[in-house]
């Protein structure tokens, strides 16, 4: 048996043990599905939800919220991070503003998200943006400050005569690995904000909304289904991103992971 199969088998065994223990505790120790739904309760709820067809729709809505937030955070966070990391004046100018806004918990923006955008996808997207923007900004900023001086000087003697050329051809490629790590962190934060934003009623669809809605209905097995789907979707997003970064952007860094 090679190590890969061994790893996989042991992983599956561990999951099976957890499921069995969970089932026993839920059924024989707790005995109330409302307090702790059993594995079979959750499976049944999952099948029912699949049948009703809302599961996919809610996942799609959540991904839409998430996409709006992350894309907006990238579009603003990366350029501002570049400006602050490259031009000292921009750093001095923007740093105080950023430092005041950054510690505000993203969820504290929920009231204004609703007032500014109403109960729309944009409102949920805005809360995710508030969570993802700062990790992306600070990672980009730090990555640009850390670009080795010798690369910049090599760029200059090889004919990059403007800041734009130095950023585009030297600093940005050098900074990509660190920016990618920041984006990964930002996506984790954004995913958390997504659930909160939807739970607080910024939207009337989505996985987070359904989780909360089922809690009101006291459908605890369904709540667990949504919890698991949220976890899995987050995991899959992270894996896809990591794969993409490793294969497309970081072929030049053998064996390293964003």
């Amino acid at each position: 048996m090679n190590q890969q199969t061994q790893k996989r088998l042991l992983g599956i065994a561990a999951l099976a043990v957890v499921a069995i223990v969970w089932q026993i505790i839920a059924e024989y120790v707790v005995g109330r599905s409302f307090i702790l739904p059993s594995v079979t309760d959750v499976a049944e709820a999952f099948v029912n939800l699949l049948g009703s067809g809302t599961l996919l729709a809610d996942t799609a809505v959540s991904l839409e919220h998430f996409g709006i937030g992350i894309i907006a955070a990238l579009l603003l966070g990366v350029p501002i991070g570049i400006l602050m990391g490259w031009f000292r004046v921009a750093d001095f100018l923007l740093d105080p503003i950023i430092e005041i806004l950054r510690p505000i918990p993203p969820l504290a923006w929920i009231p204004f998200a609703i007032i500014w955008f109403g109960l729309t996808t944009q409102a949920a997207g805005f809360v995710i943006f508030a969570g993802a923007f700062f990790p992306i900004l600070t990672a980009t900023y730090a990555a640009f400050r850390d670009v080795p001086k010798v690369f910049v000087e090599a760029g200059k003697v090889l004919g990059c005569d403007t800041s734009f050329e130095l950023i585009r051809y030297v600093a940005l490629p050098a900074a990509i690995p660190a920016i990618a790590s920041g984006v990964r962190i930002a996506m984790g934060v954004g995913w958390m904000c997504l659930v909160a934003a939807e739970m607080f009623g910024v939207s009337t669809y989505g996985l987070g909304y359904q989780l909360w809605h089922n809690y009101y209905l006291h459908q605890m097995p369904s709540v667990v289904v949504y919890m698991l789907i949220l976890g899995f979707t987050g995991l899959i997003i992270d894996r896809i991103f990591r794969n993409y970064v490793d294969k497309q952007l970081l072929r030049w860094r053998a064996g390293e992971v964003a």
Partner: protein
């Protein structure tokens, strides 16, 4: 063409407390076209600073540097530079590293890769053209760095202890290769080293700098043909002379 004229160059680096460190003081030096010059001197004498001033990466506090009569005001591809640290762009393949200067000039992809291939062949790394820098050894990386500088067809090639991080054997080999490249391309080379042996082996003229603030202490012309025999008596004699000069100036500091 590539004659370099250094006129009365001084350089002071300001310090936090308002005073300044005087790195160079009144340096005058004429370097002829196609000459191979080595700058040597005690640590901290400003030889790298002088090289960086020629490159345009530092501005002199007083005086000026002119290449073929044109005053240096900033970095320019006409003055190629090979750095001591590994300076290849790790995200680019060897071929694209070497083609980088051409890309900045706006040369099309096909053509610049052709030029790059020519120089990659010249440094003997054709089979590594599609490799990334992390796949290369230290000596190979510096060969690519030399190819990258040459691909811009510079007037002057500036080299800042380019073989300093290599082991002795690779270093000797690289020195031989550099001489052959120099003969093929007919570039003016200004080479900073702290190895007197390397300087005697390579250069037409050894420029010995005095300790900080660096100024020119002596210029030793070495007329022998190449390849030179490191074990010969005359080689040892020049080496001893230069070493004594550096030692003396260090002990009188």
């Amino acid at each position: 063409m590539g004659s370099v004229s250094i006129a009365n160059v001084s350089k002071a680096f300001p310090k936090e407390d308002g005073t300044a460190t005087q790195a160079l003081e009144g340096v005058n030096l004429e370097i002829g076209d196609t000459e191979f010059i080595c700058l040597v001197g005690p640590s901290g004498c400003g030889k790298t600073t002088l090289l960086r001033i020629i490159a345009g990466l530092e501005t002199p506090t007083t005086g000026s540097v002119a290449v073929d009569g044109h005053t240096v005001t900033g970095p320019d591809p006409k003055r190629g530079m090979v750095f001591q640290e590994y300076s290849l762009f790790p995200w680019l393949k060897v071929v694209d590293n070497v083609a980088f200067g051409q890309e900045m000039k706006g040369v099309g992809k096909e053509e610049r890769r052709k030029t790059a291939d020519h120089y990659i062949e010249m440094v003997g790394l054709s089979q590594f053209r599609d490799a990334y820098p992390y796949e290369l050894s230290g000596g190979m990386r510096q060969r690519v760095a030399i190819a990258r500088a040459l691909a811009n067809d510079p007037d002057v090639l500036l080299m800042d202890e380019p073989f300093g991080a290599l082991d002795a054997q690779t270093r000797n080999h690289m020195q031989k290769e550099l001489l052959s490249l120099w003969e093929q391309t007919q570039k003016t080379i200004v080479f900073v080293t702290h190895s007197v042996d390397e300087a005697v082996y390579l250069s037409d003229k050894i420029v010995v700098l005095s300790p900080r603030p660096g100024s020119i202490r002596e210029v030793i012309t070495i007329p022998w043909p190449r390849p030179r025999d490191r074990t010969s008596a005359e080689f040892a004699e020049v080496r001893r002379r230069v070493l004594r000069m550096i030692d003396e100036s260090e002990s009188t500091q």
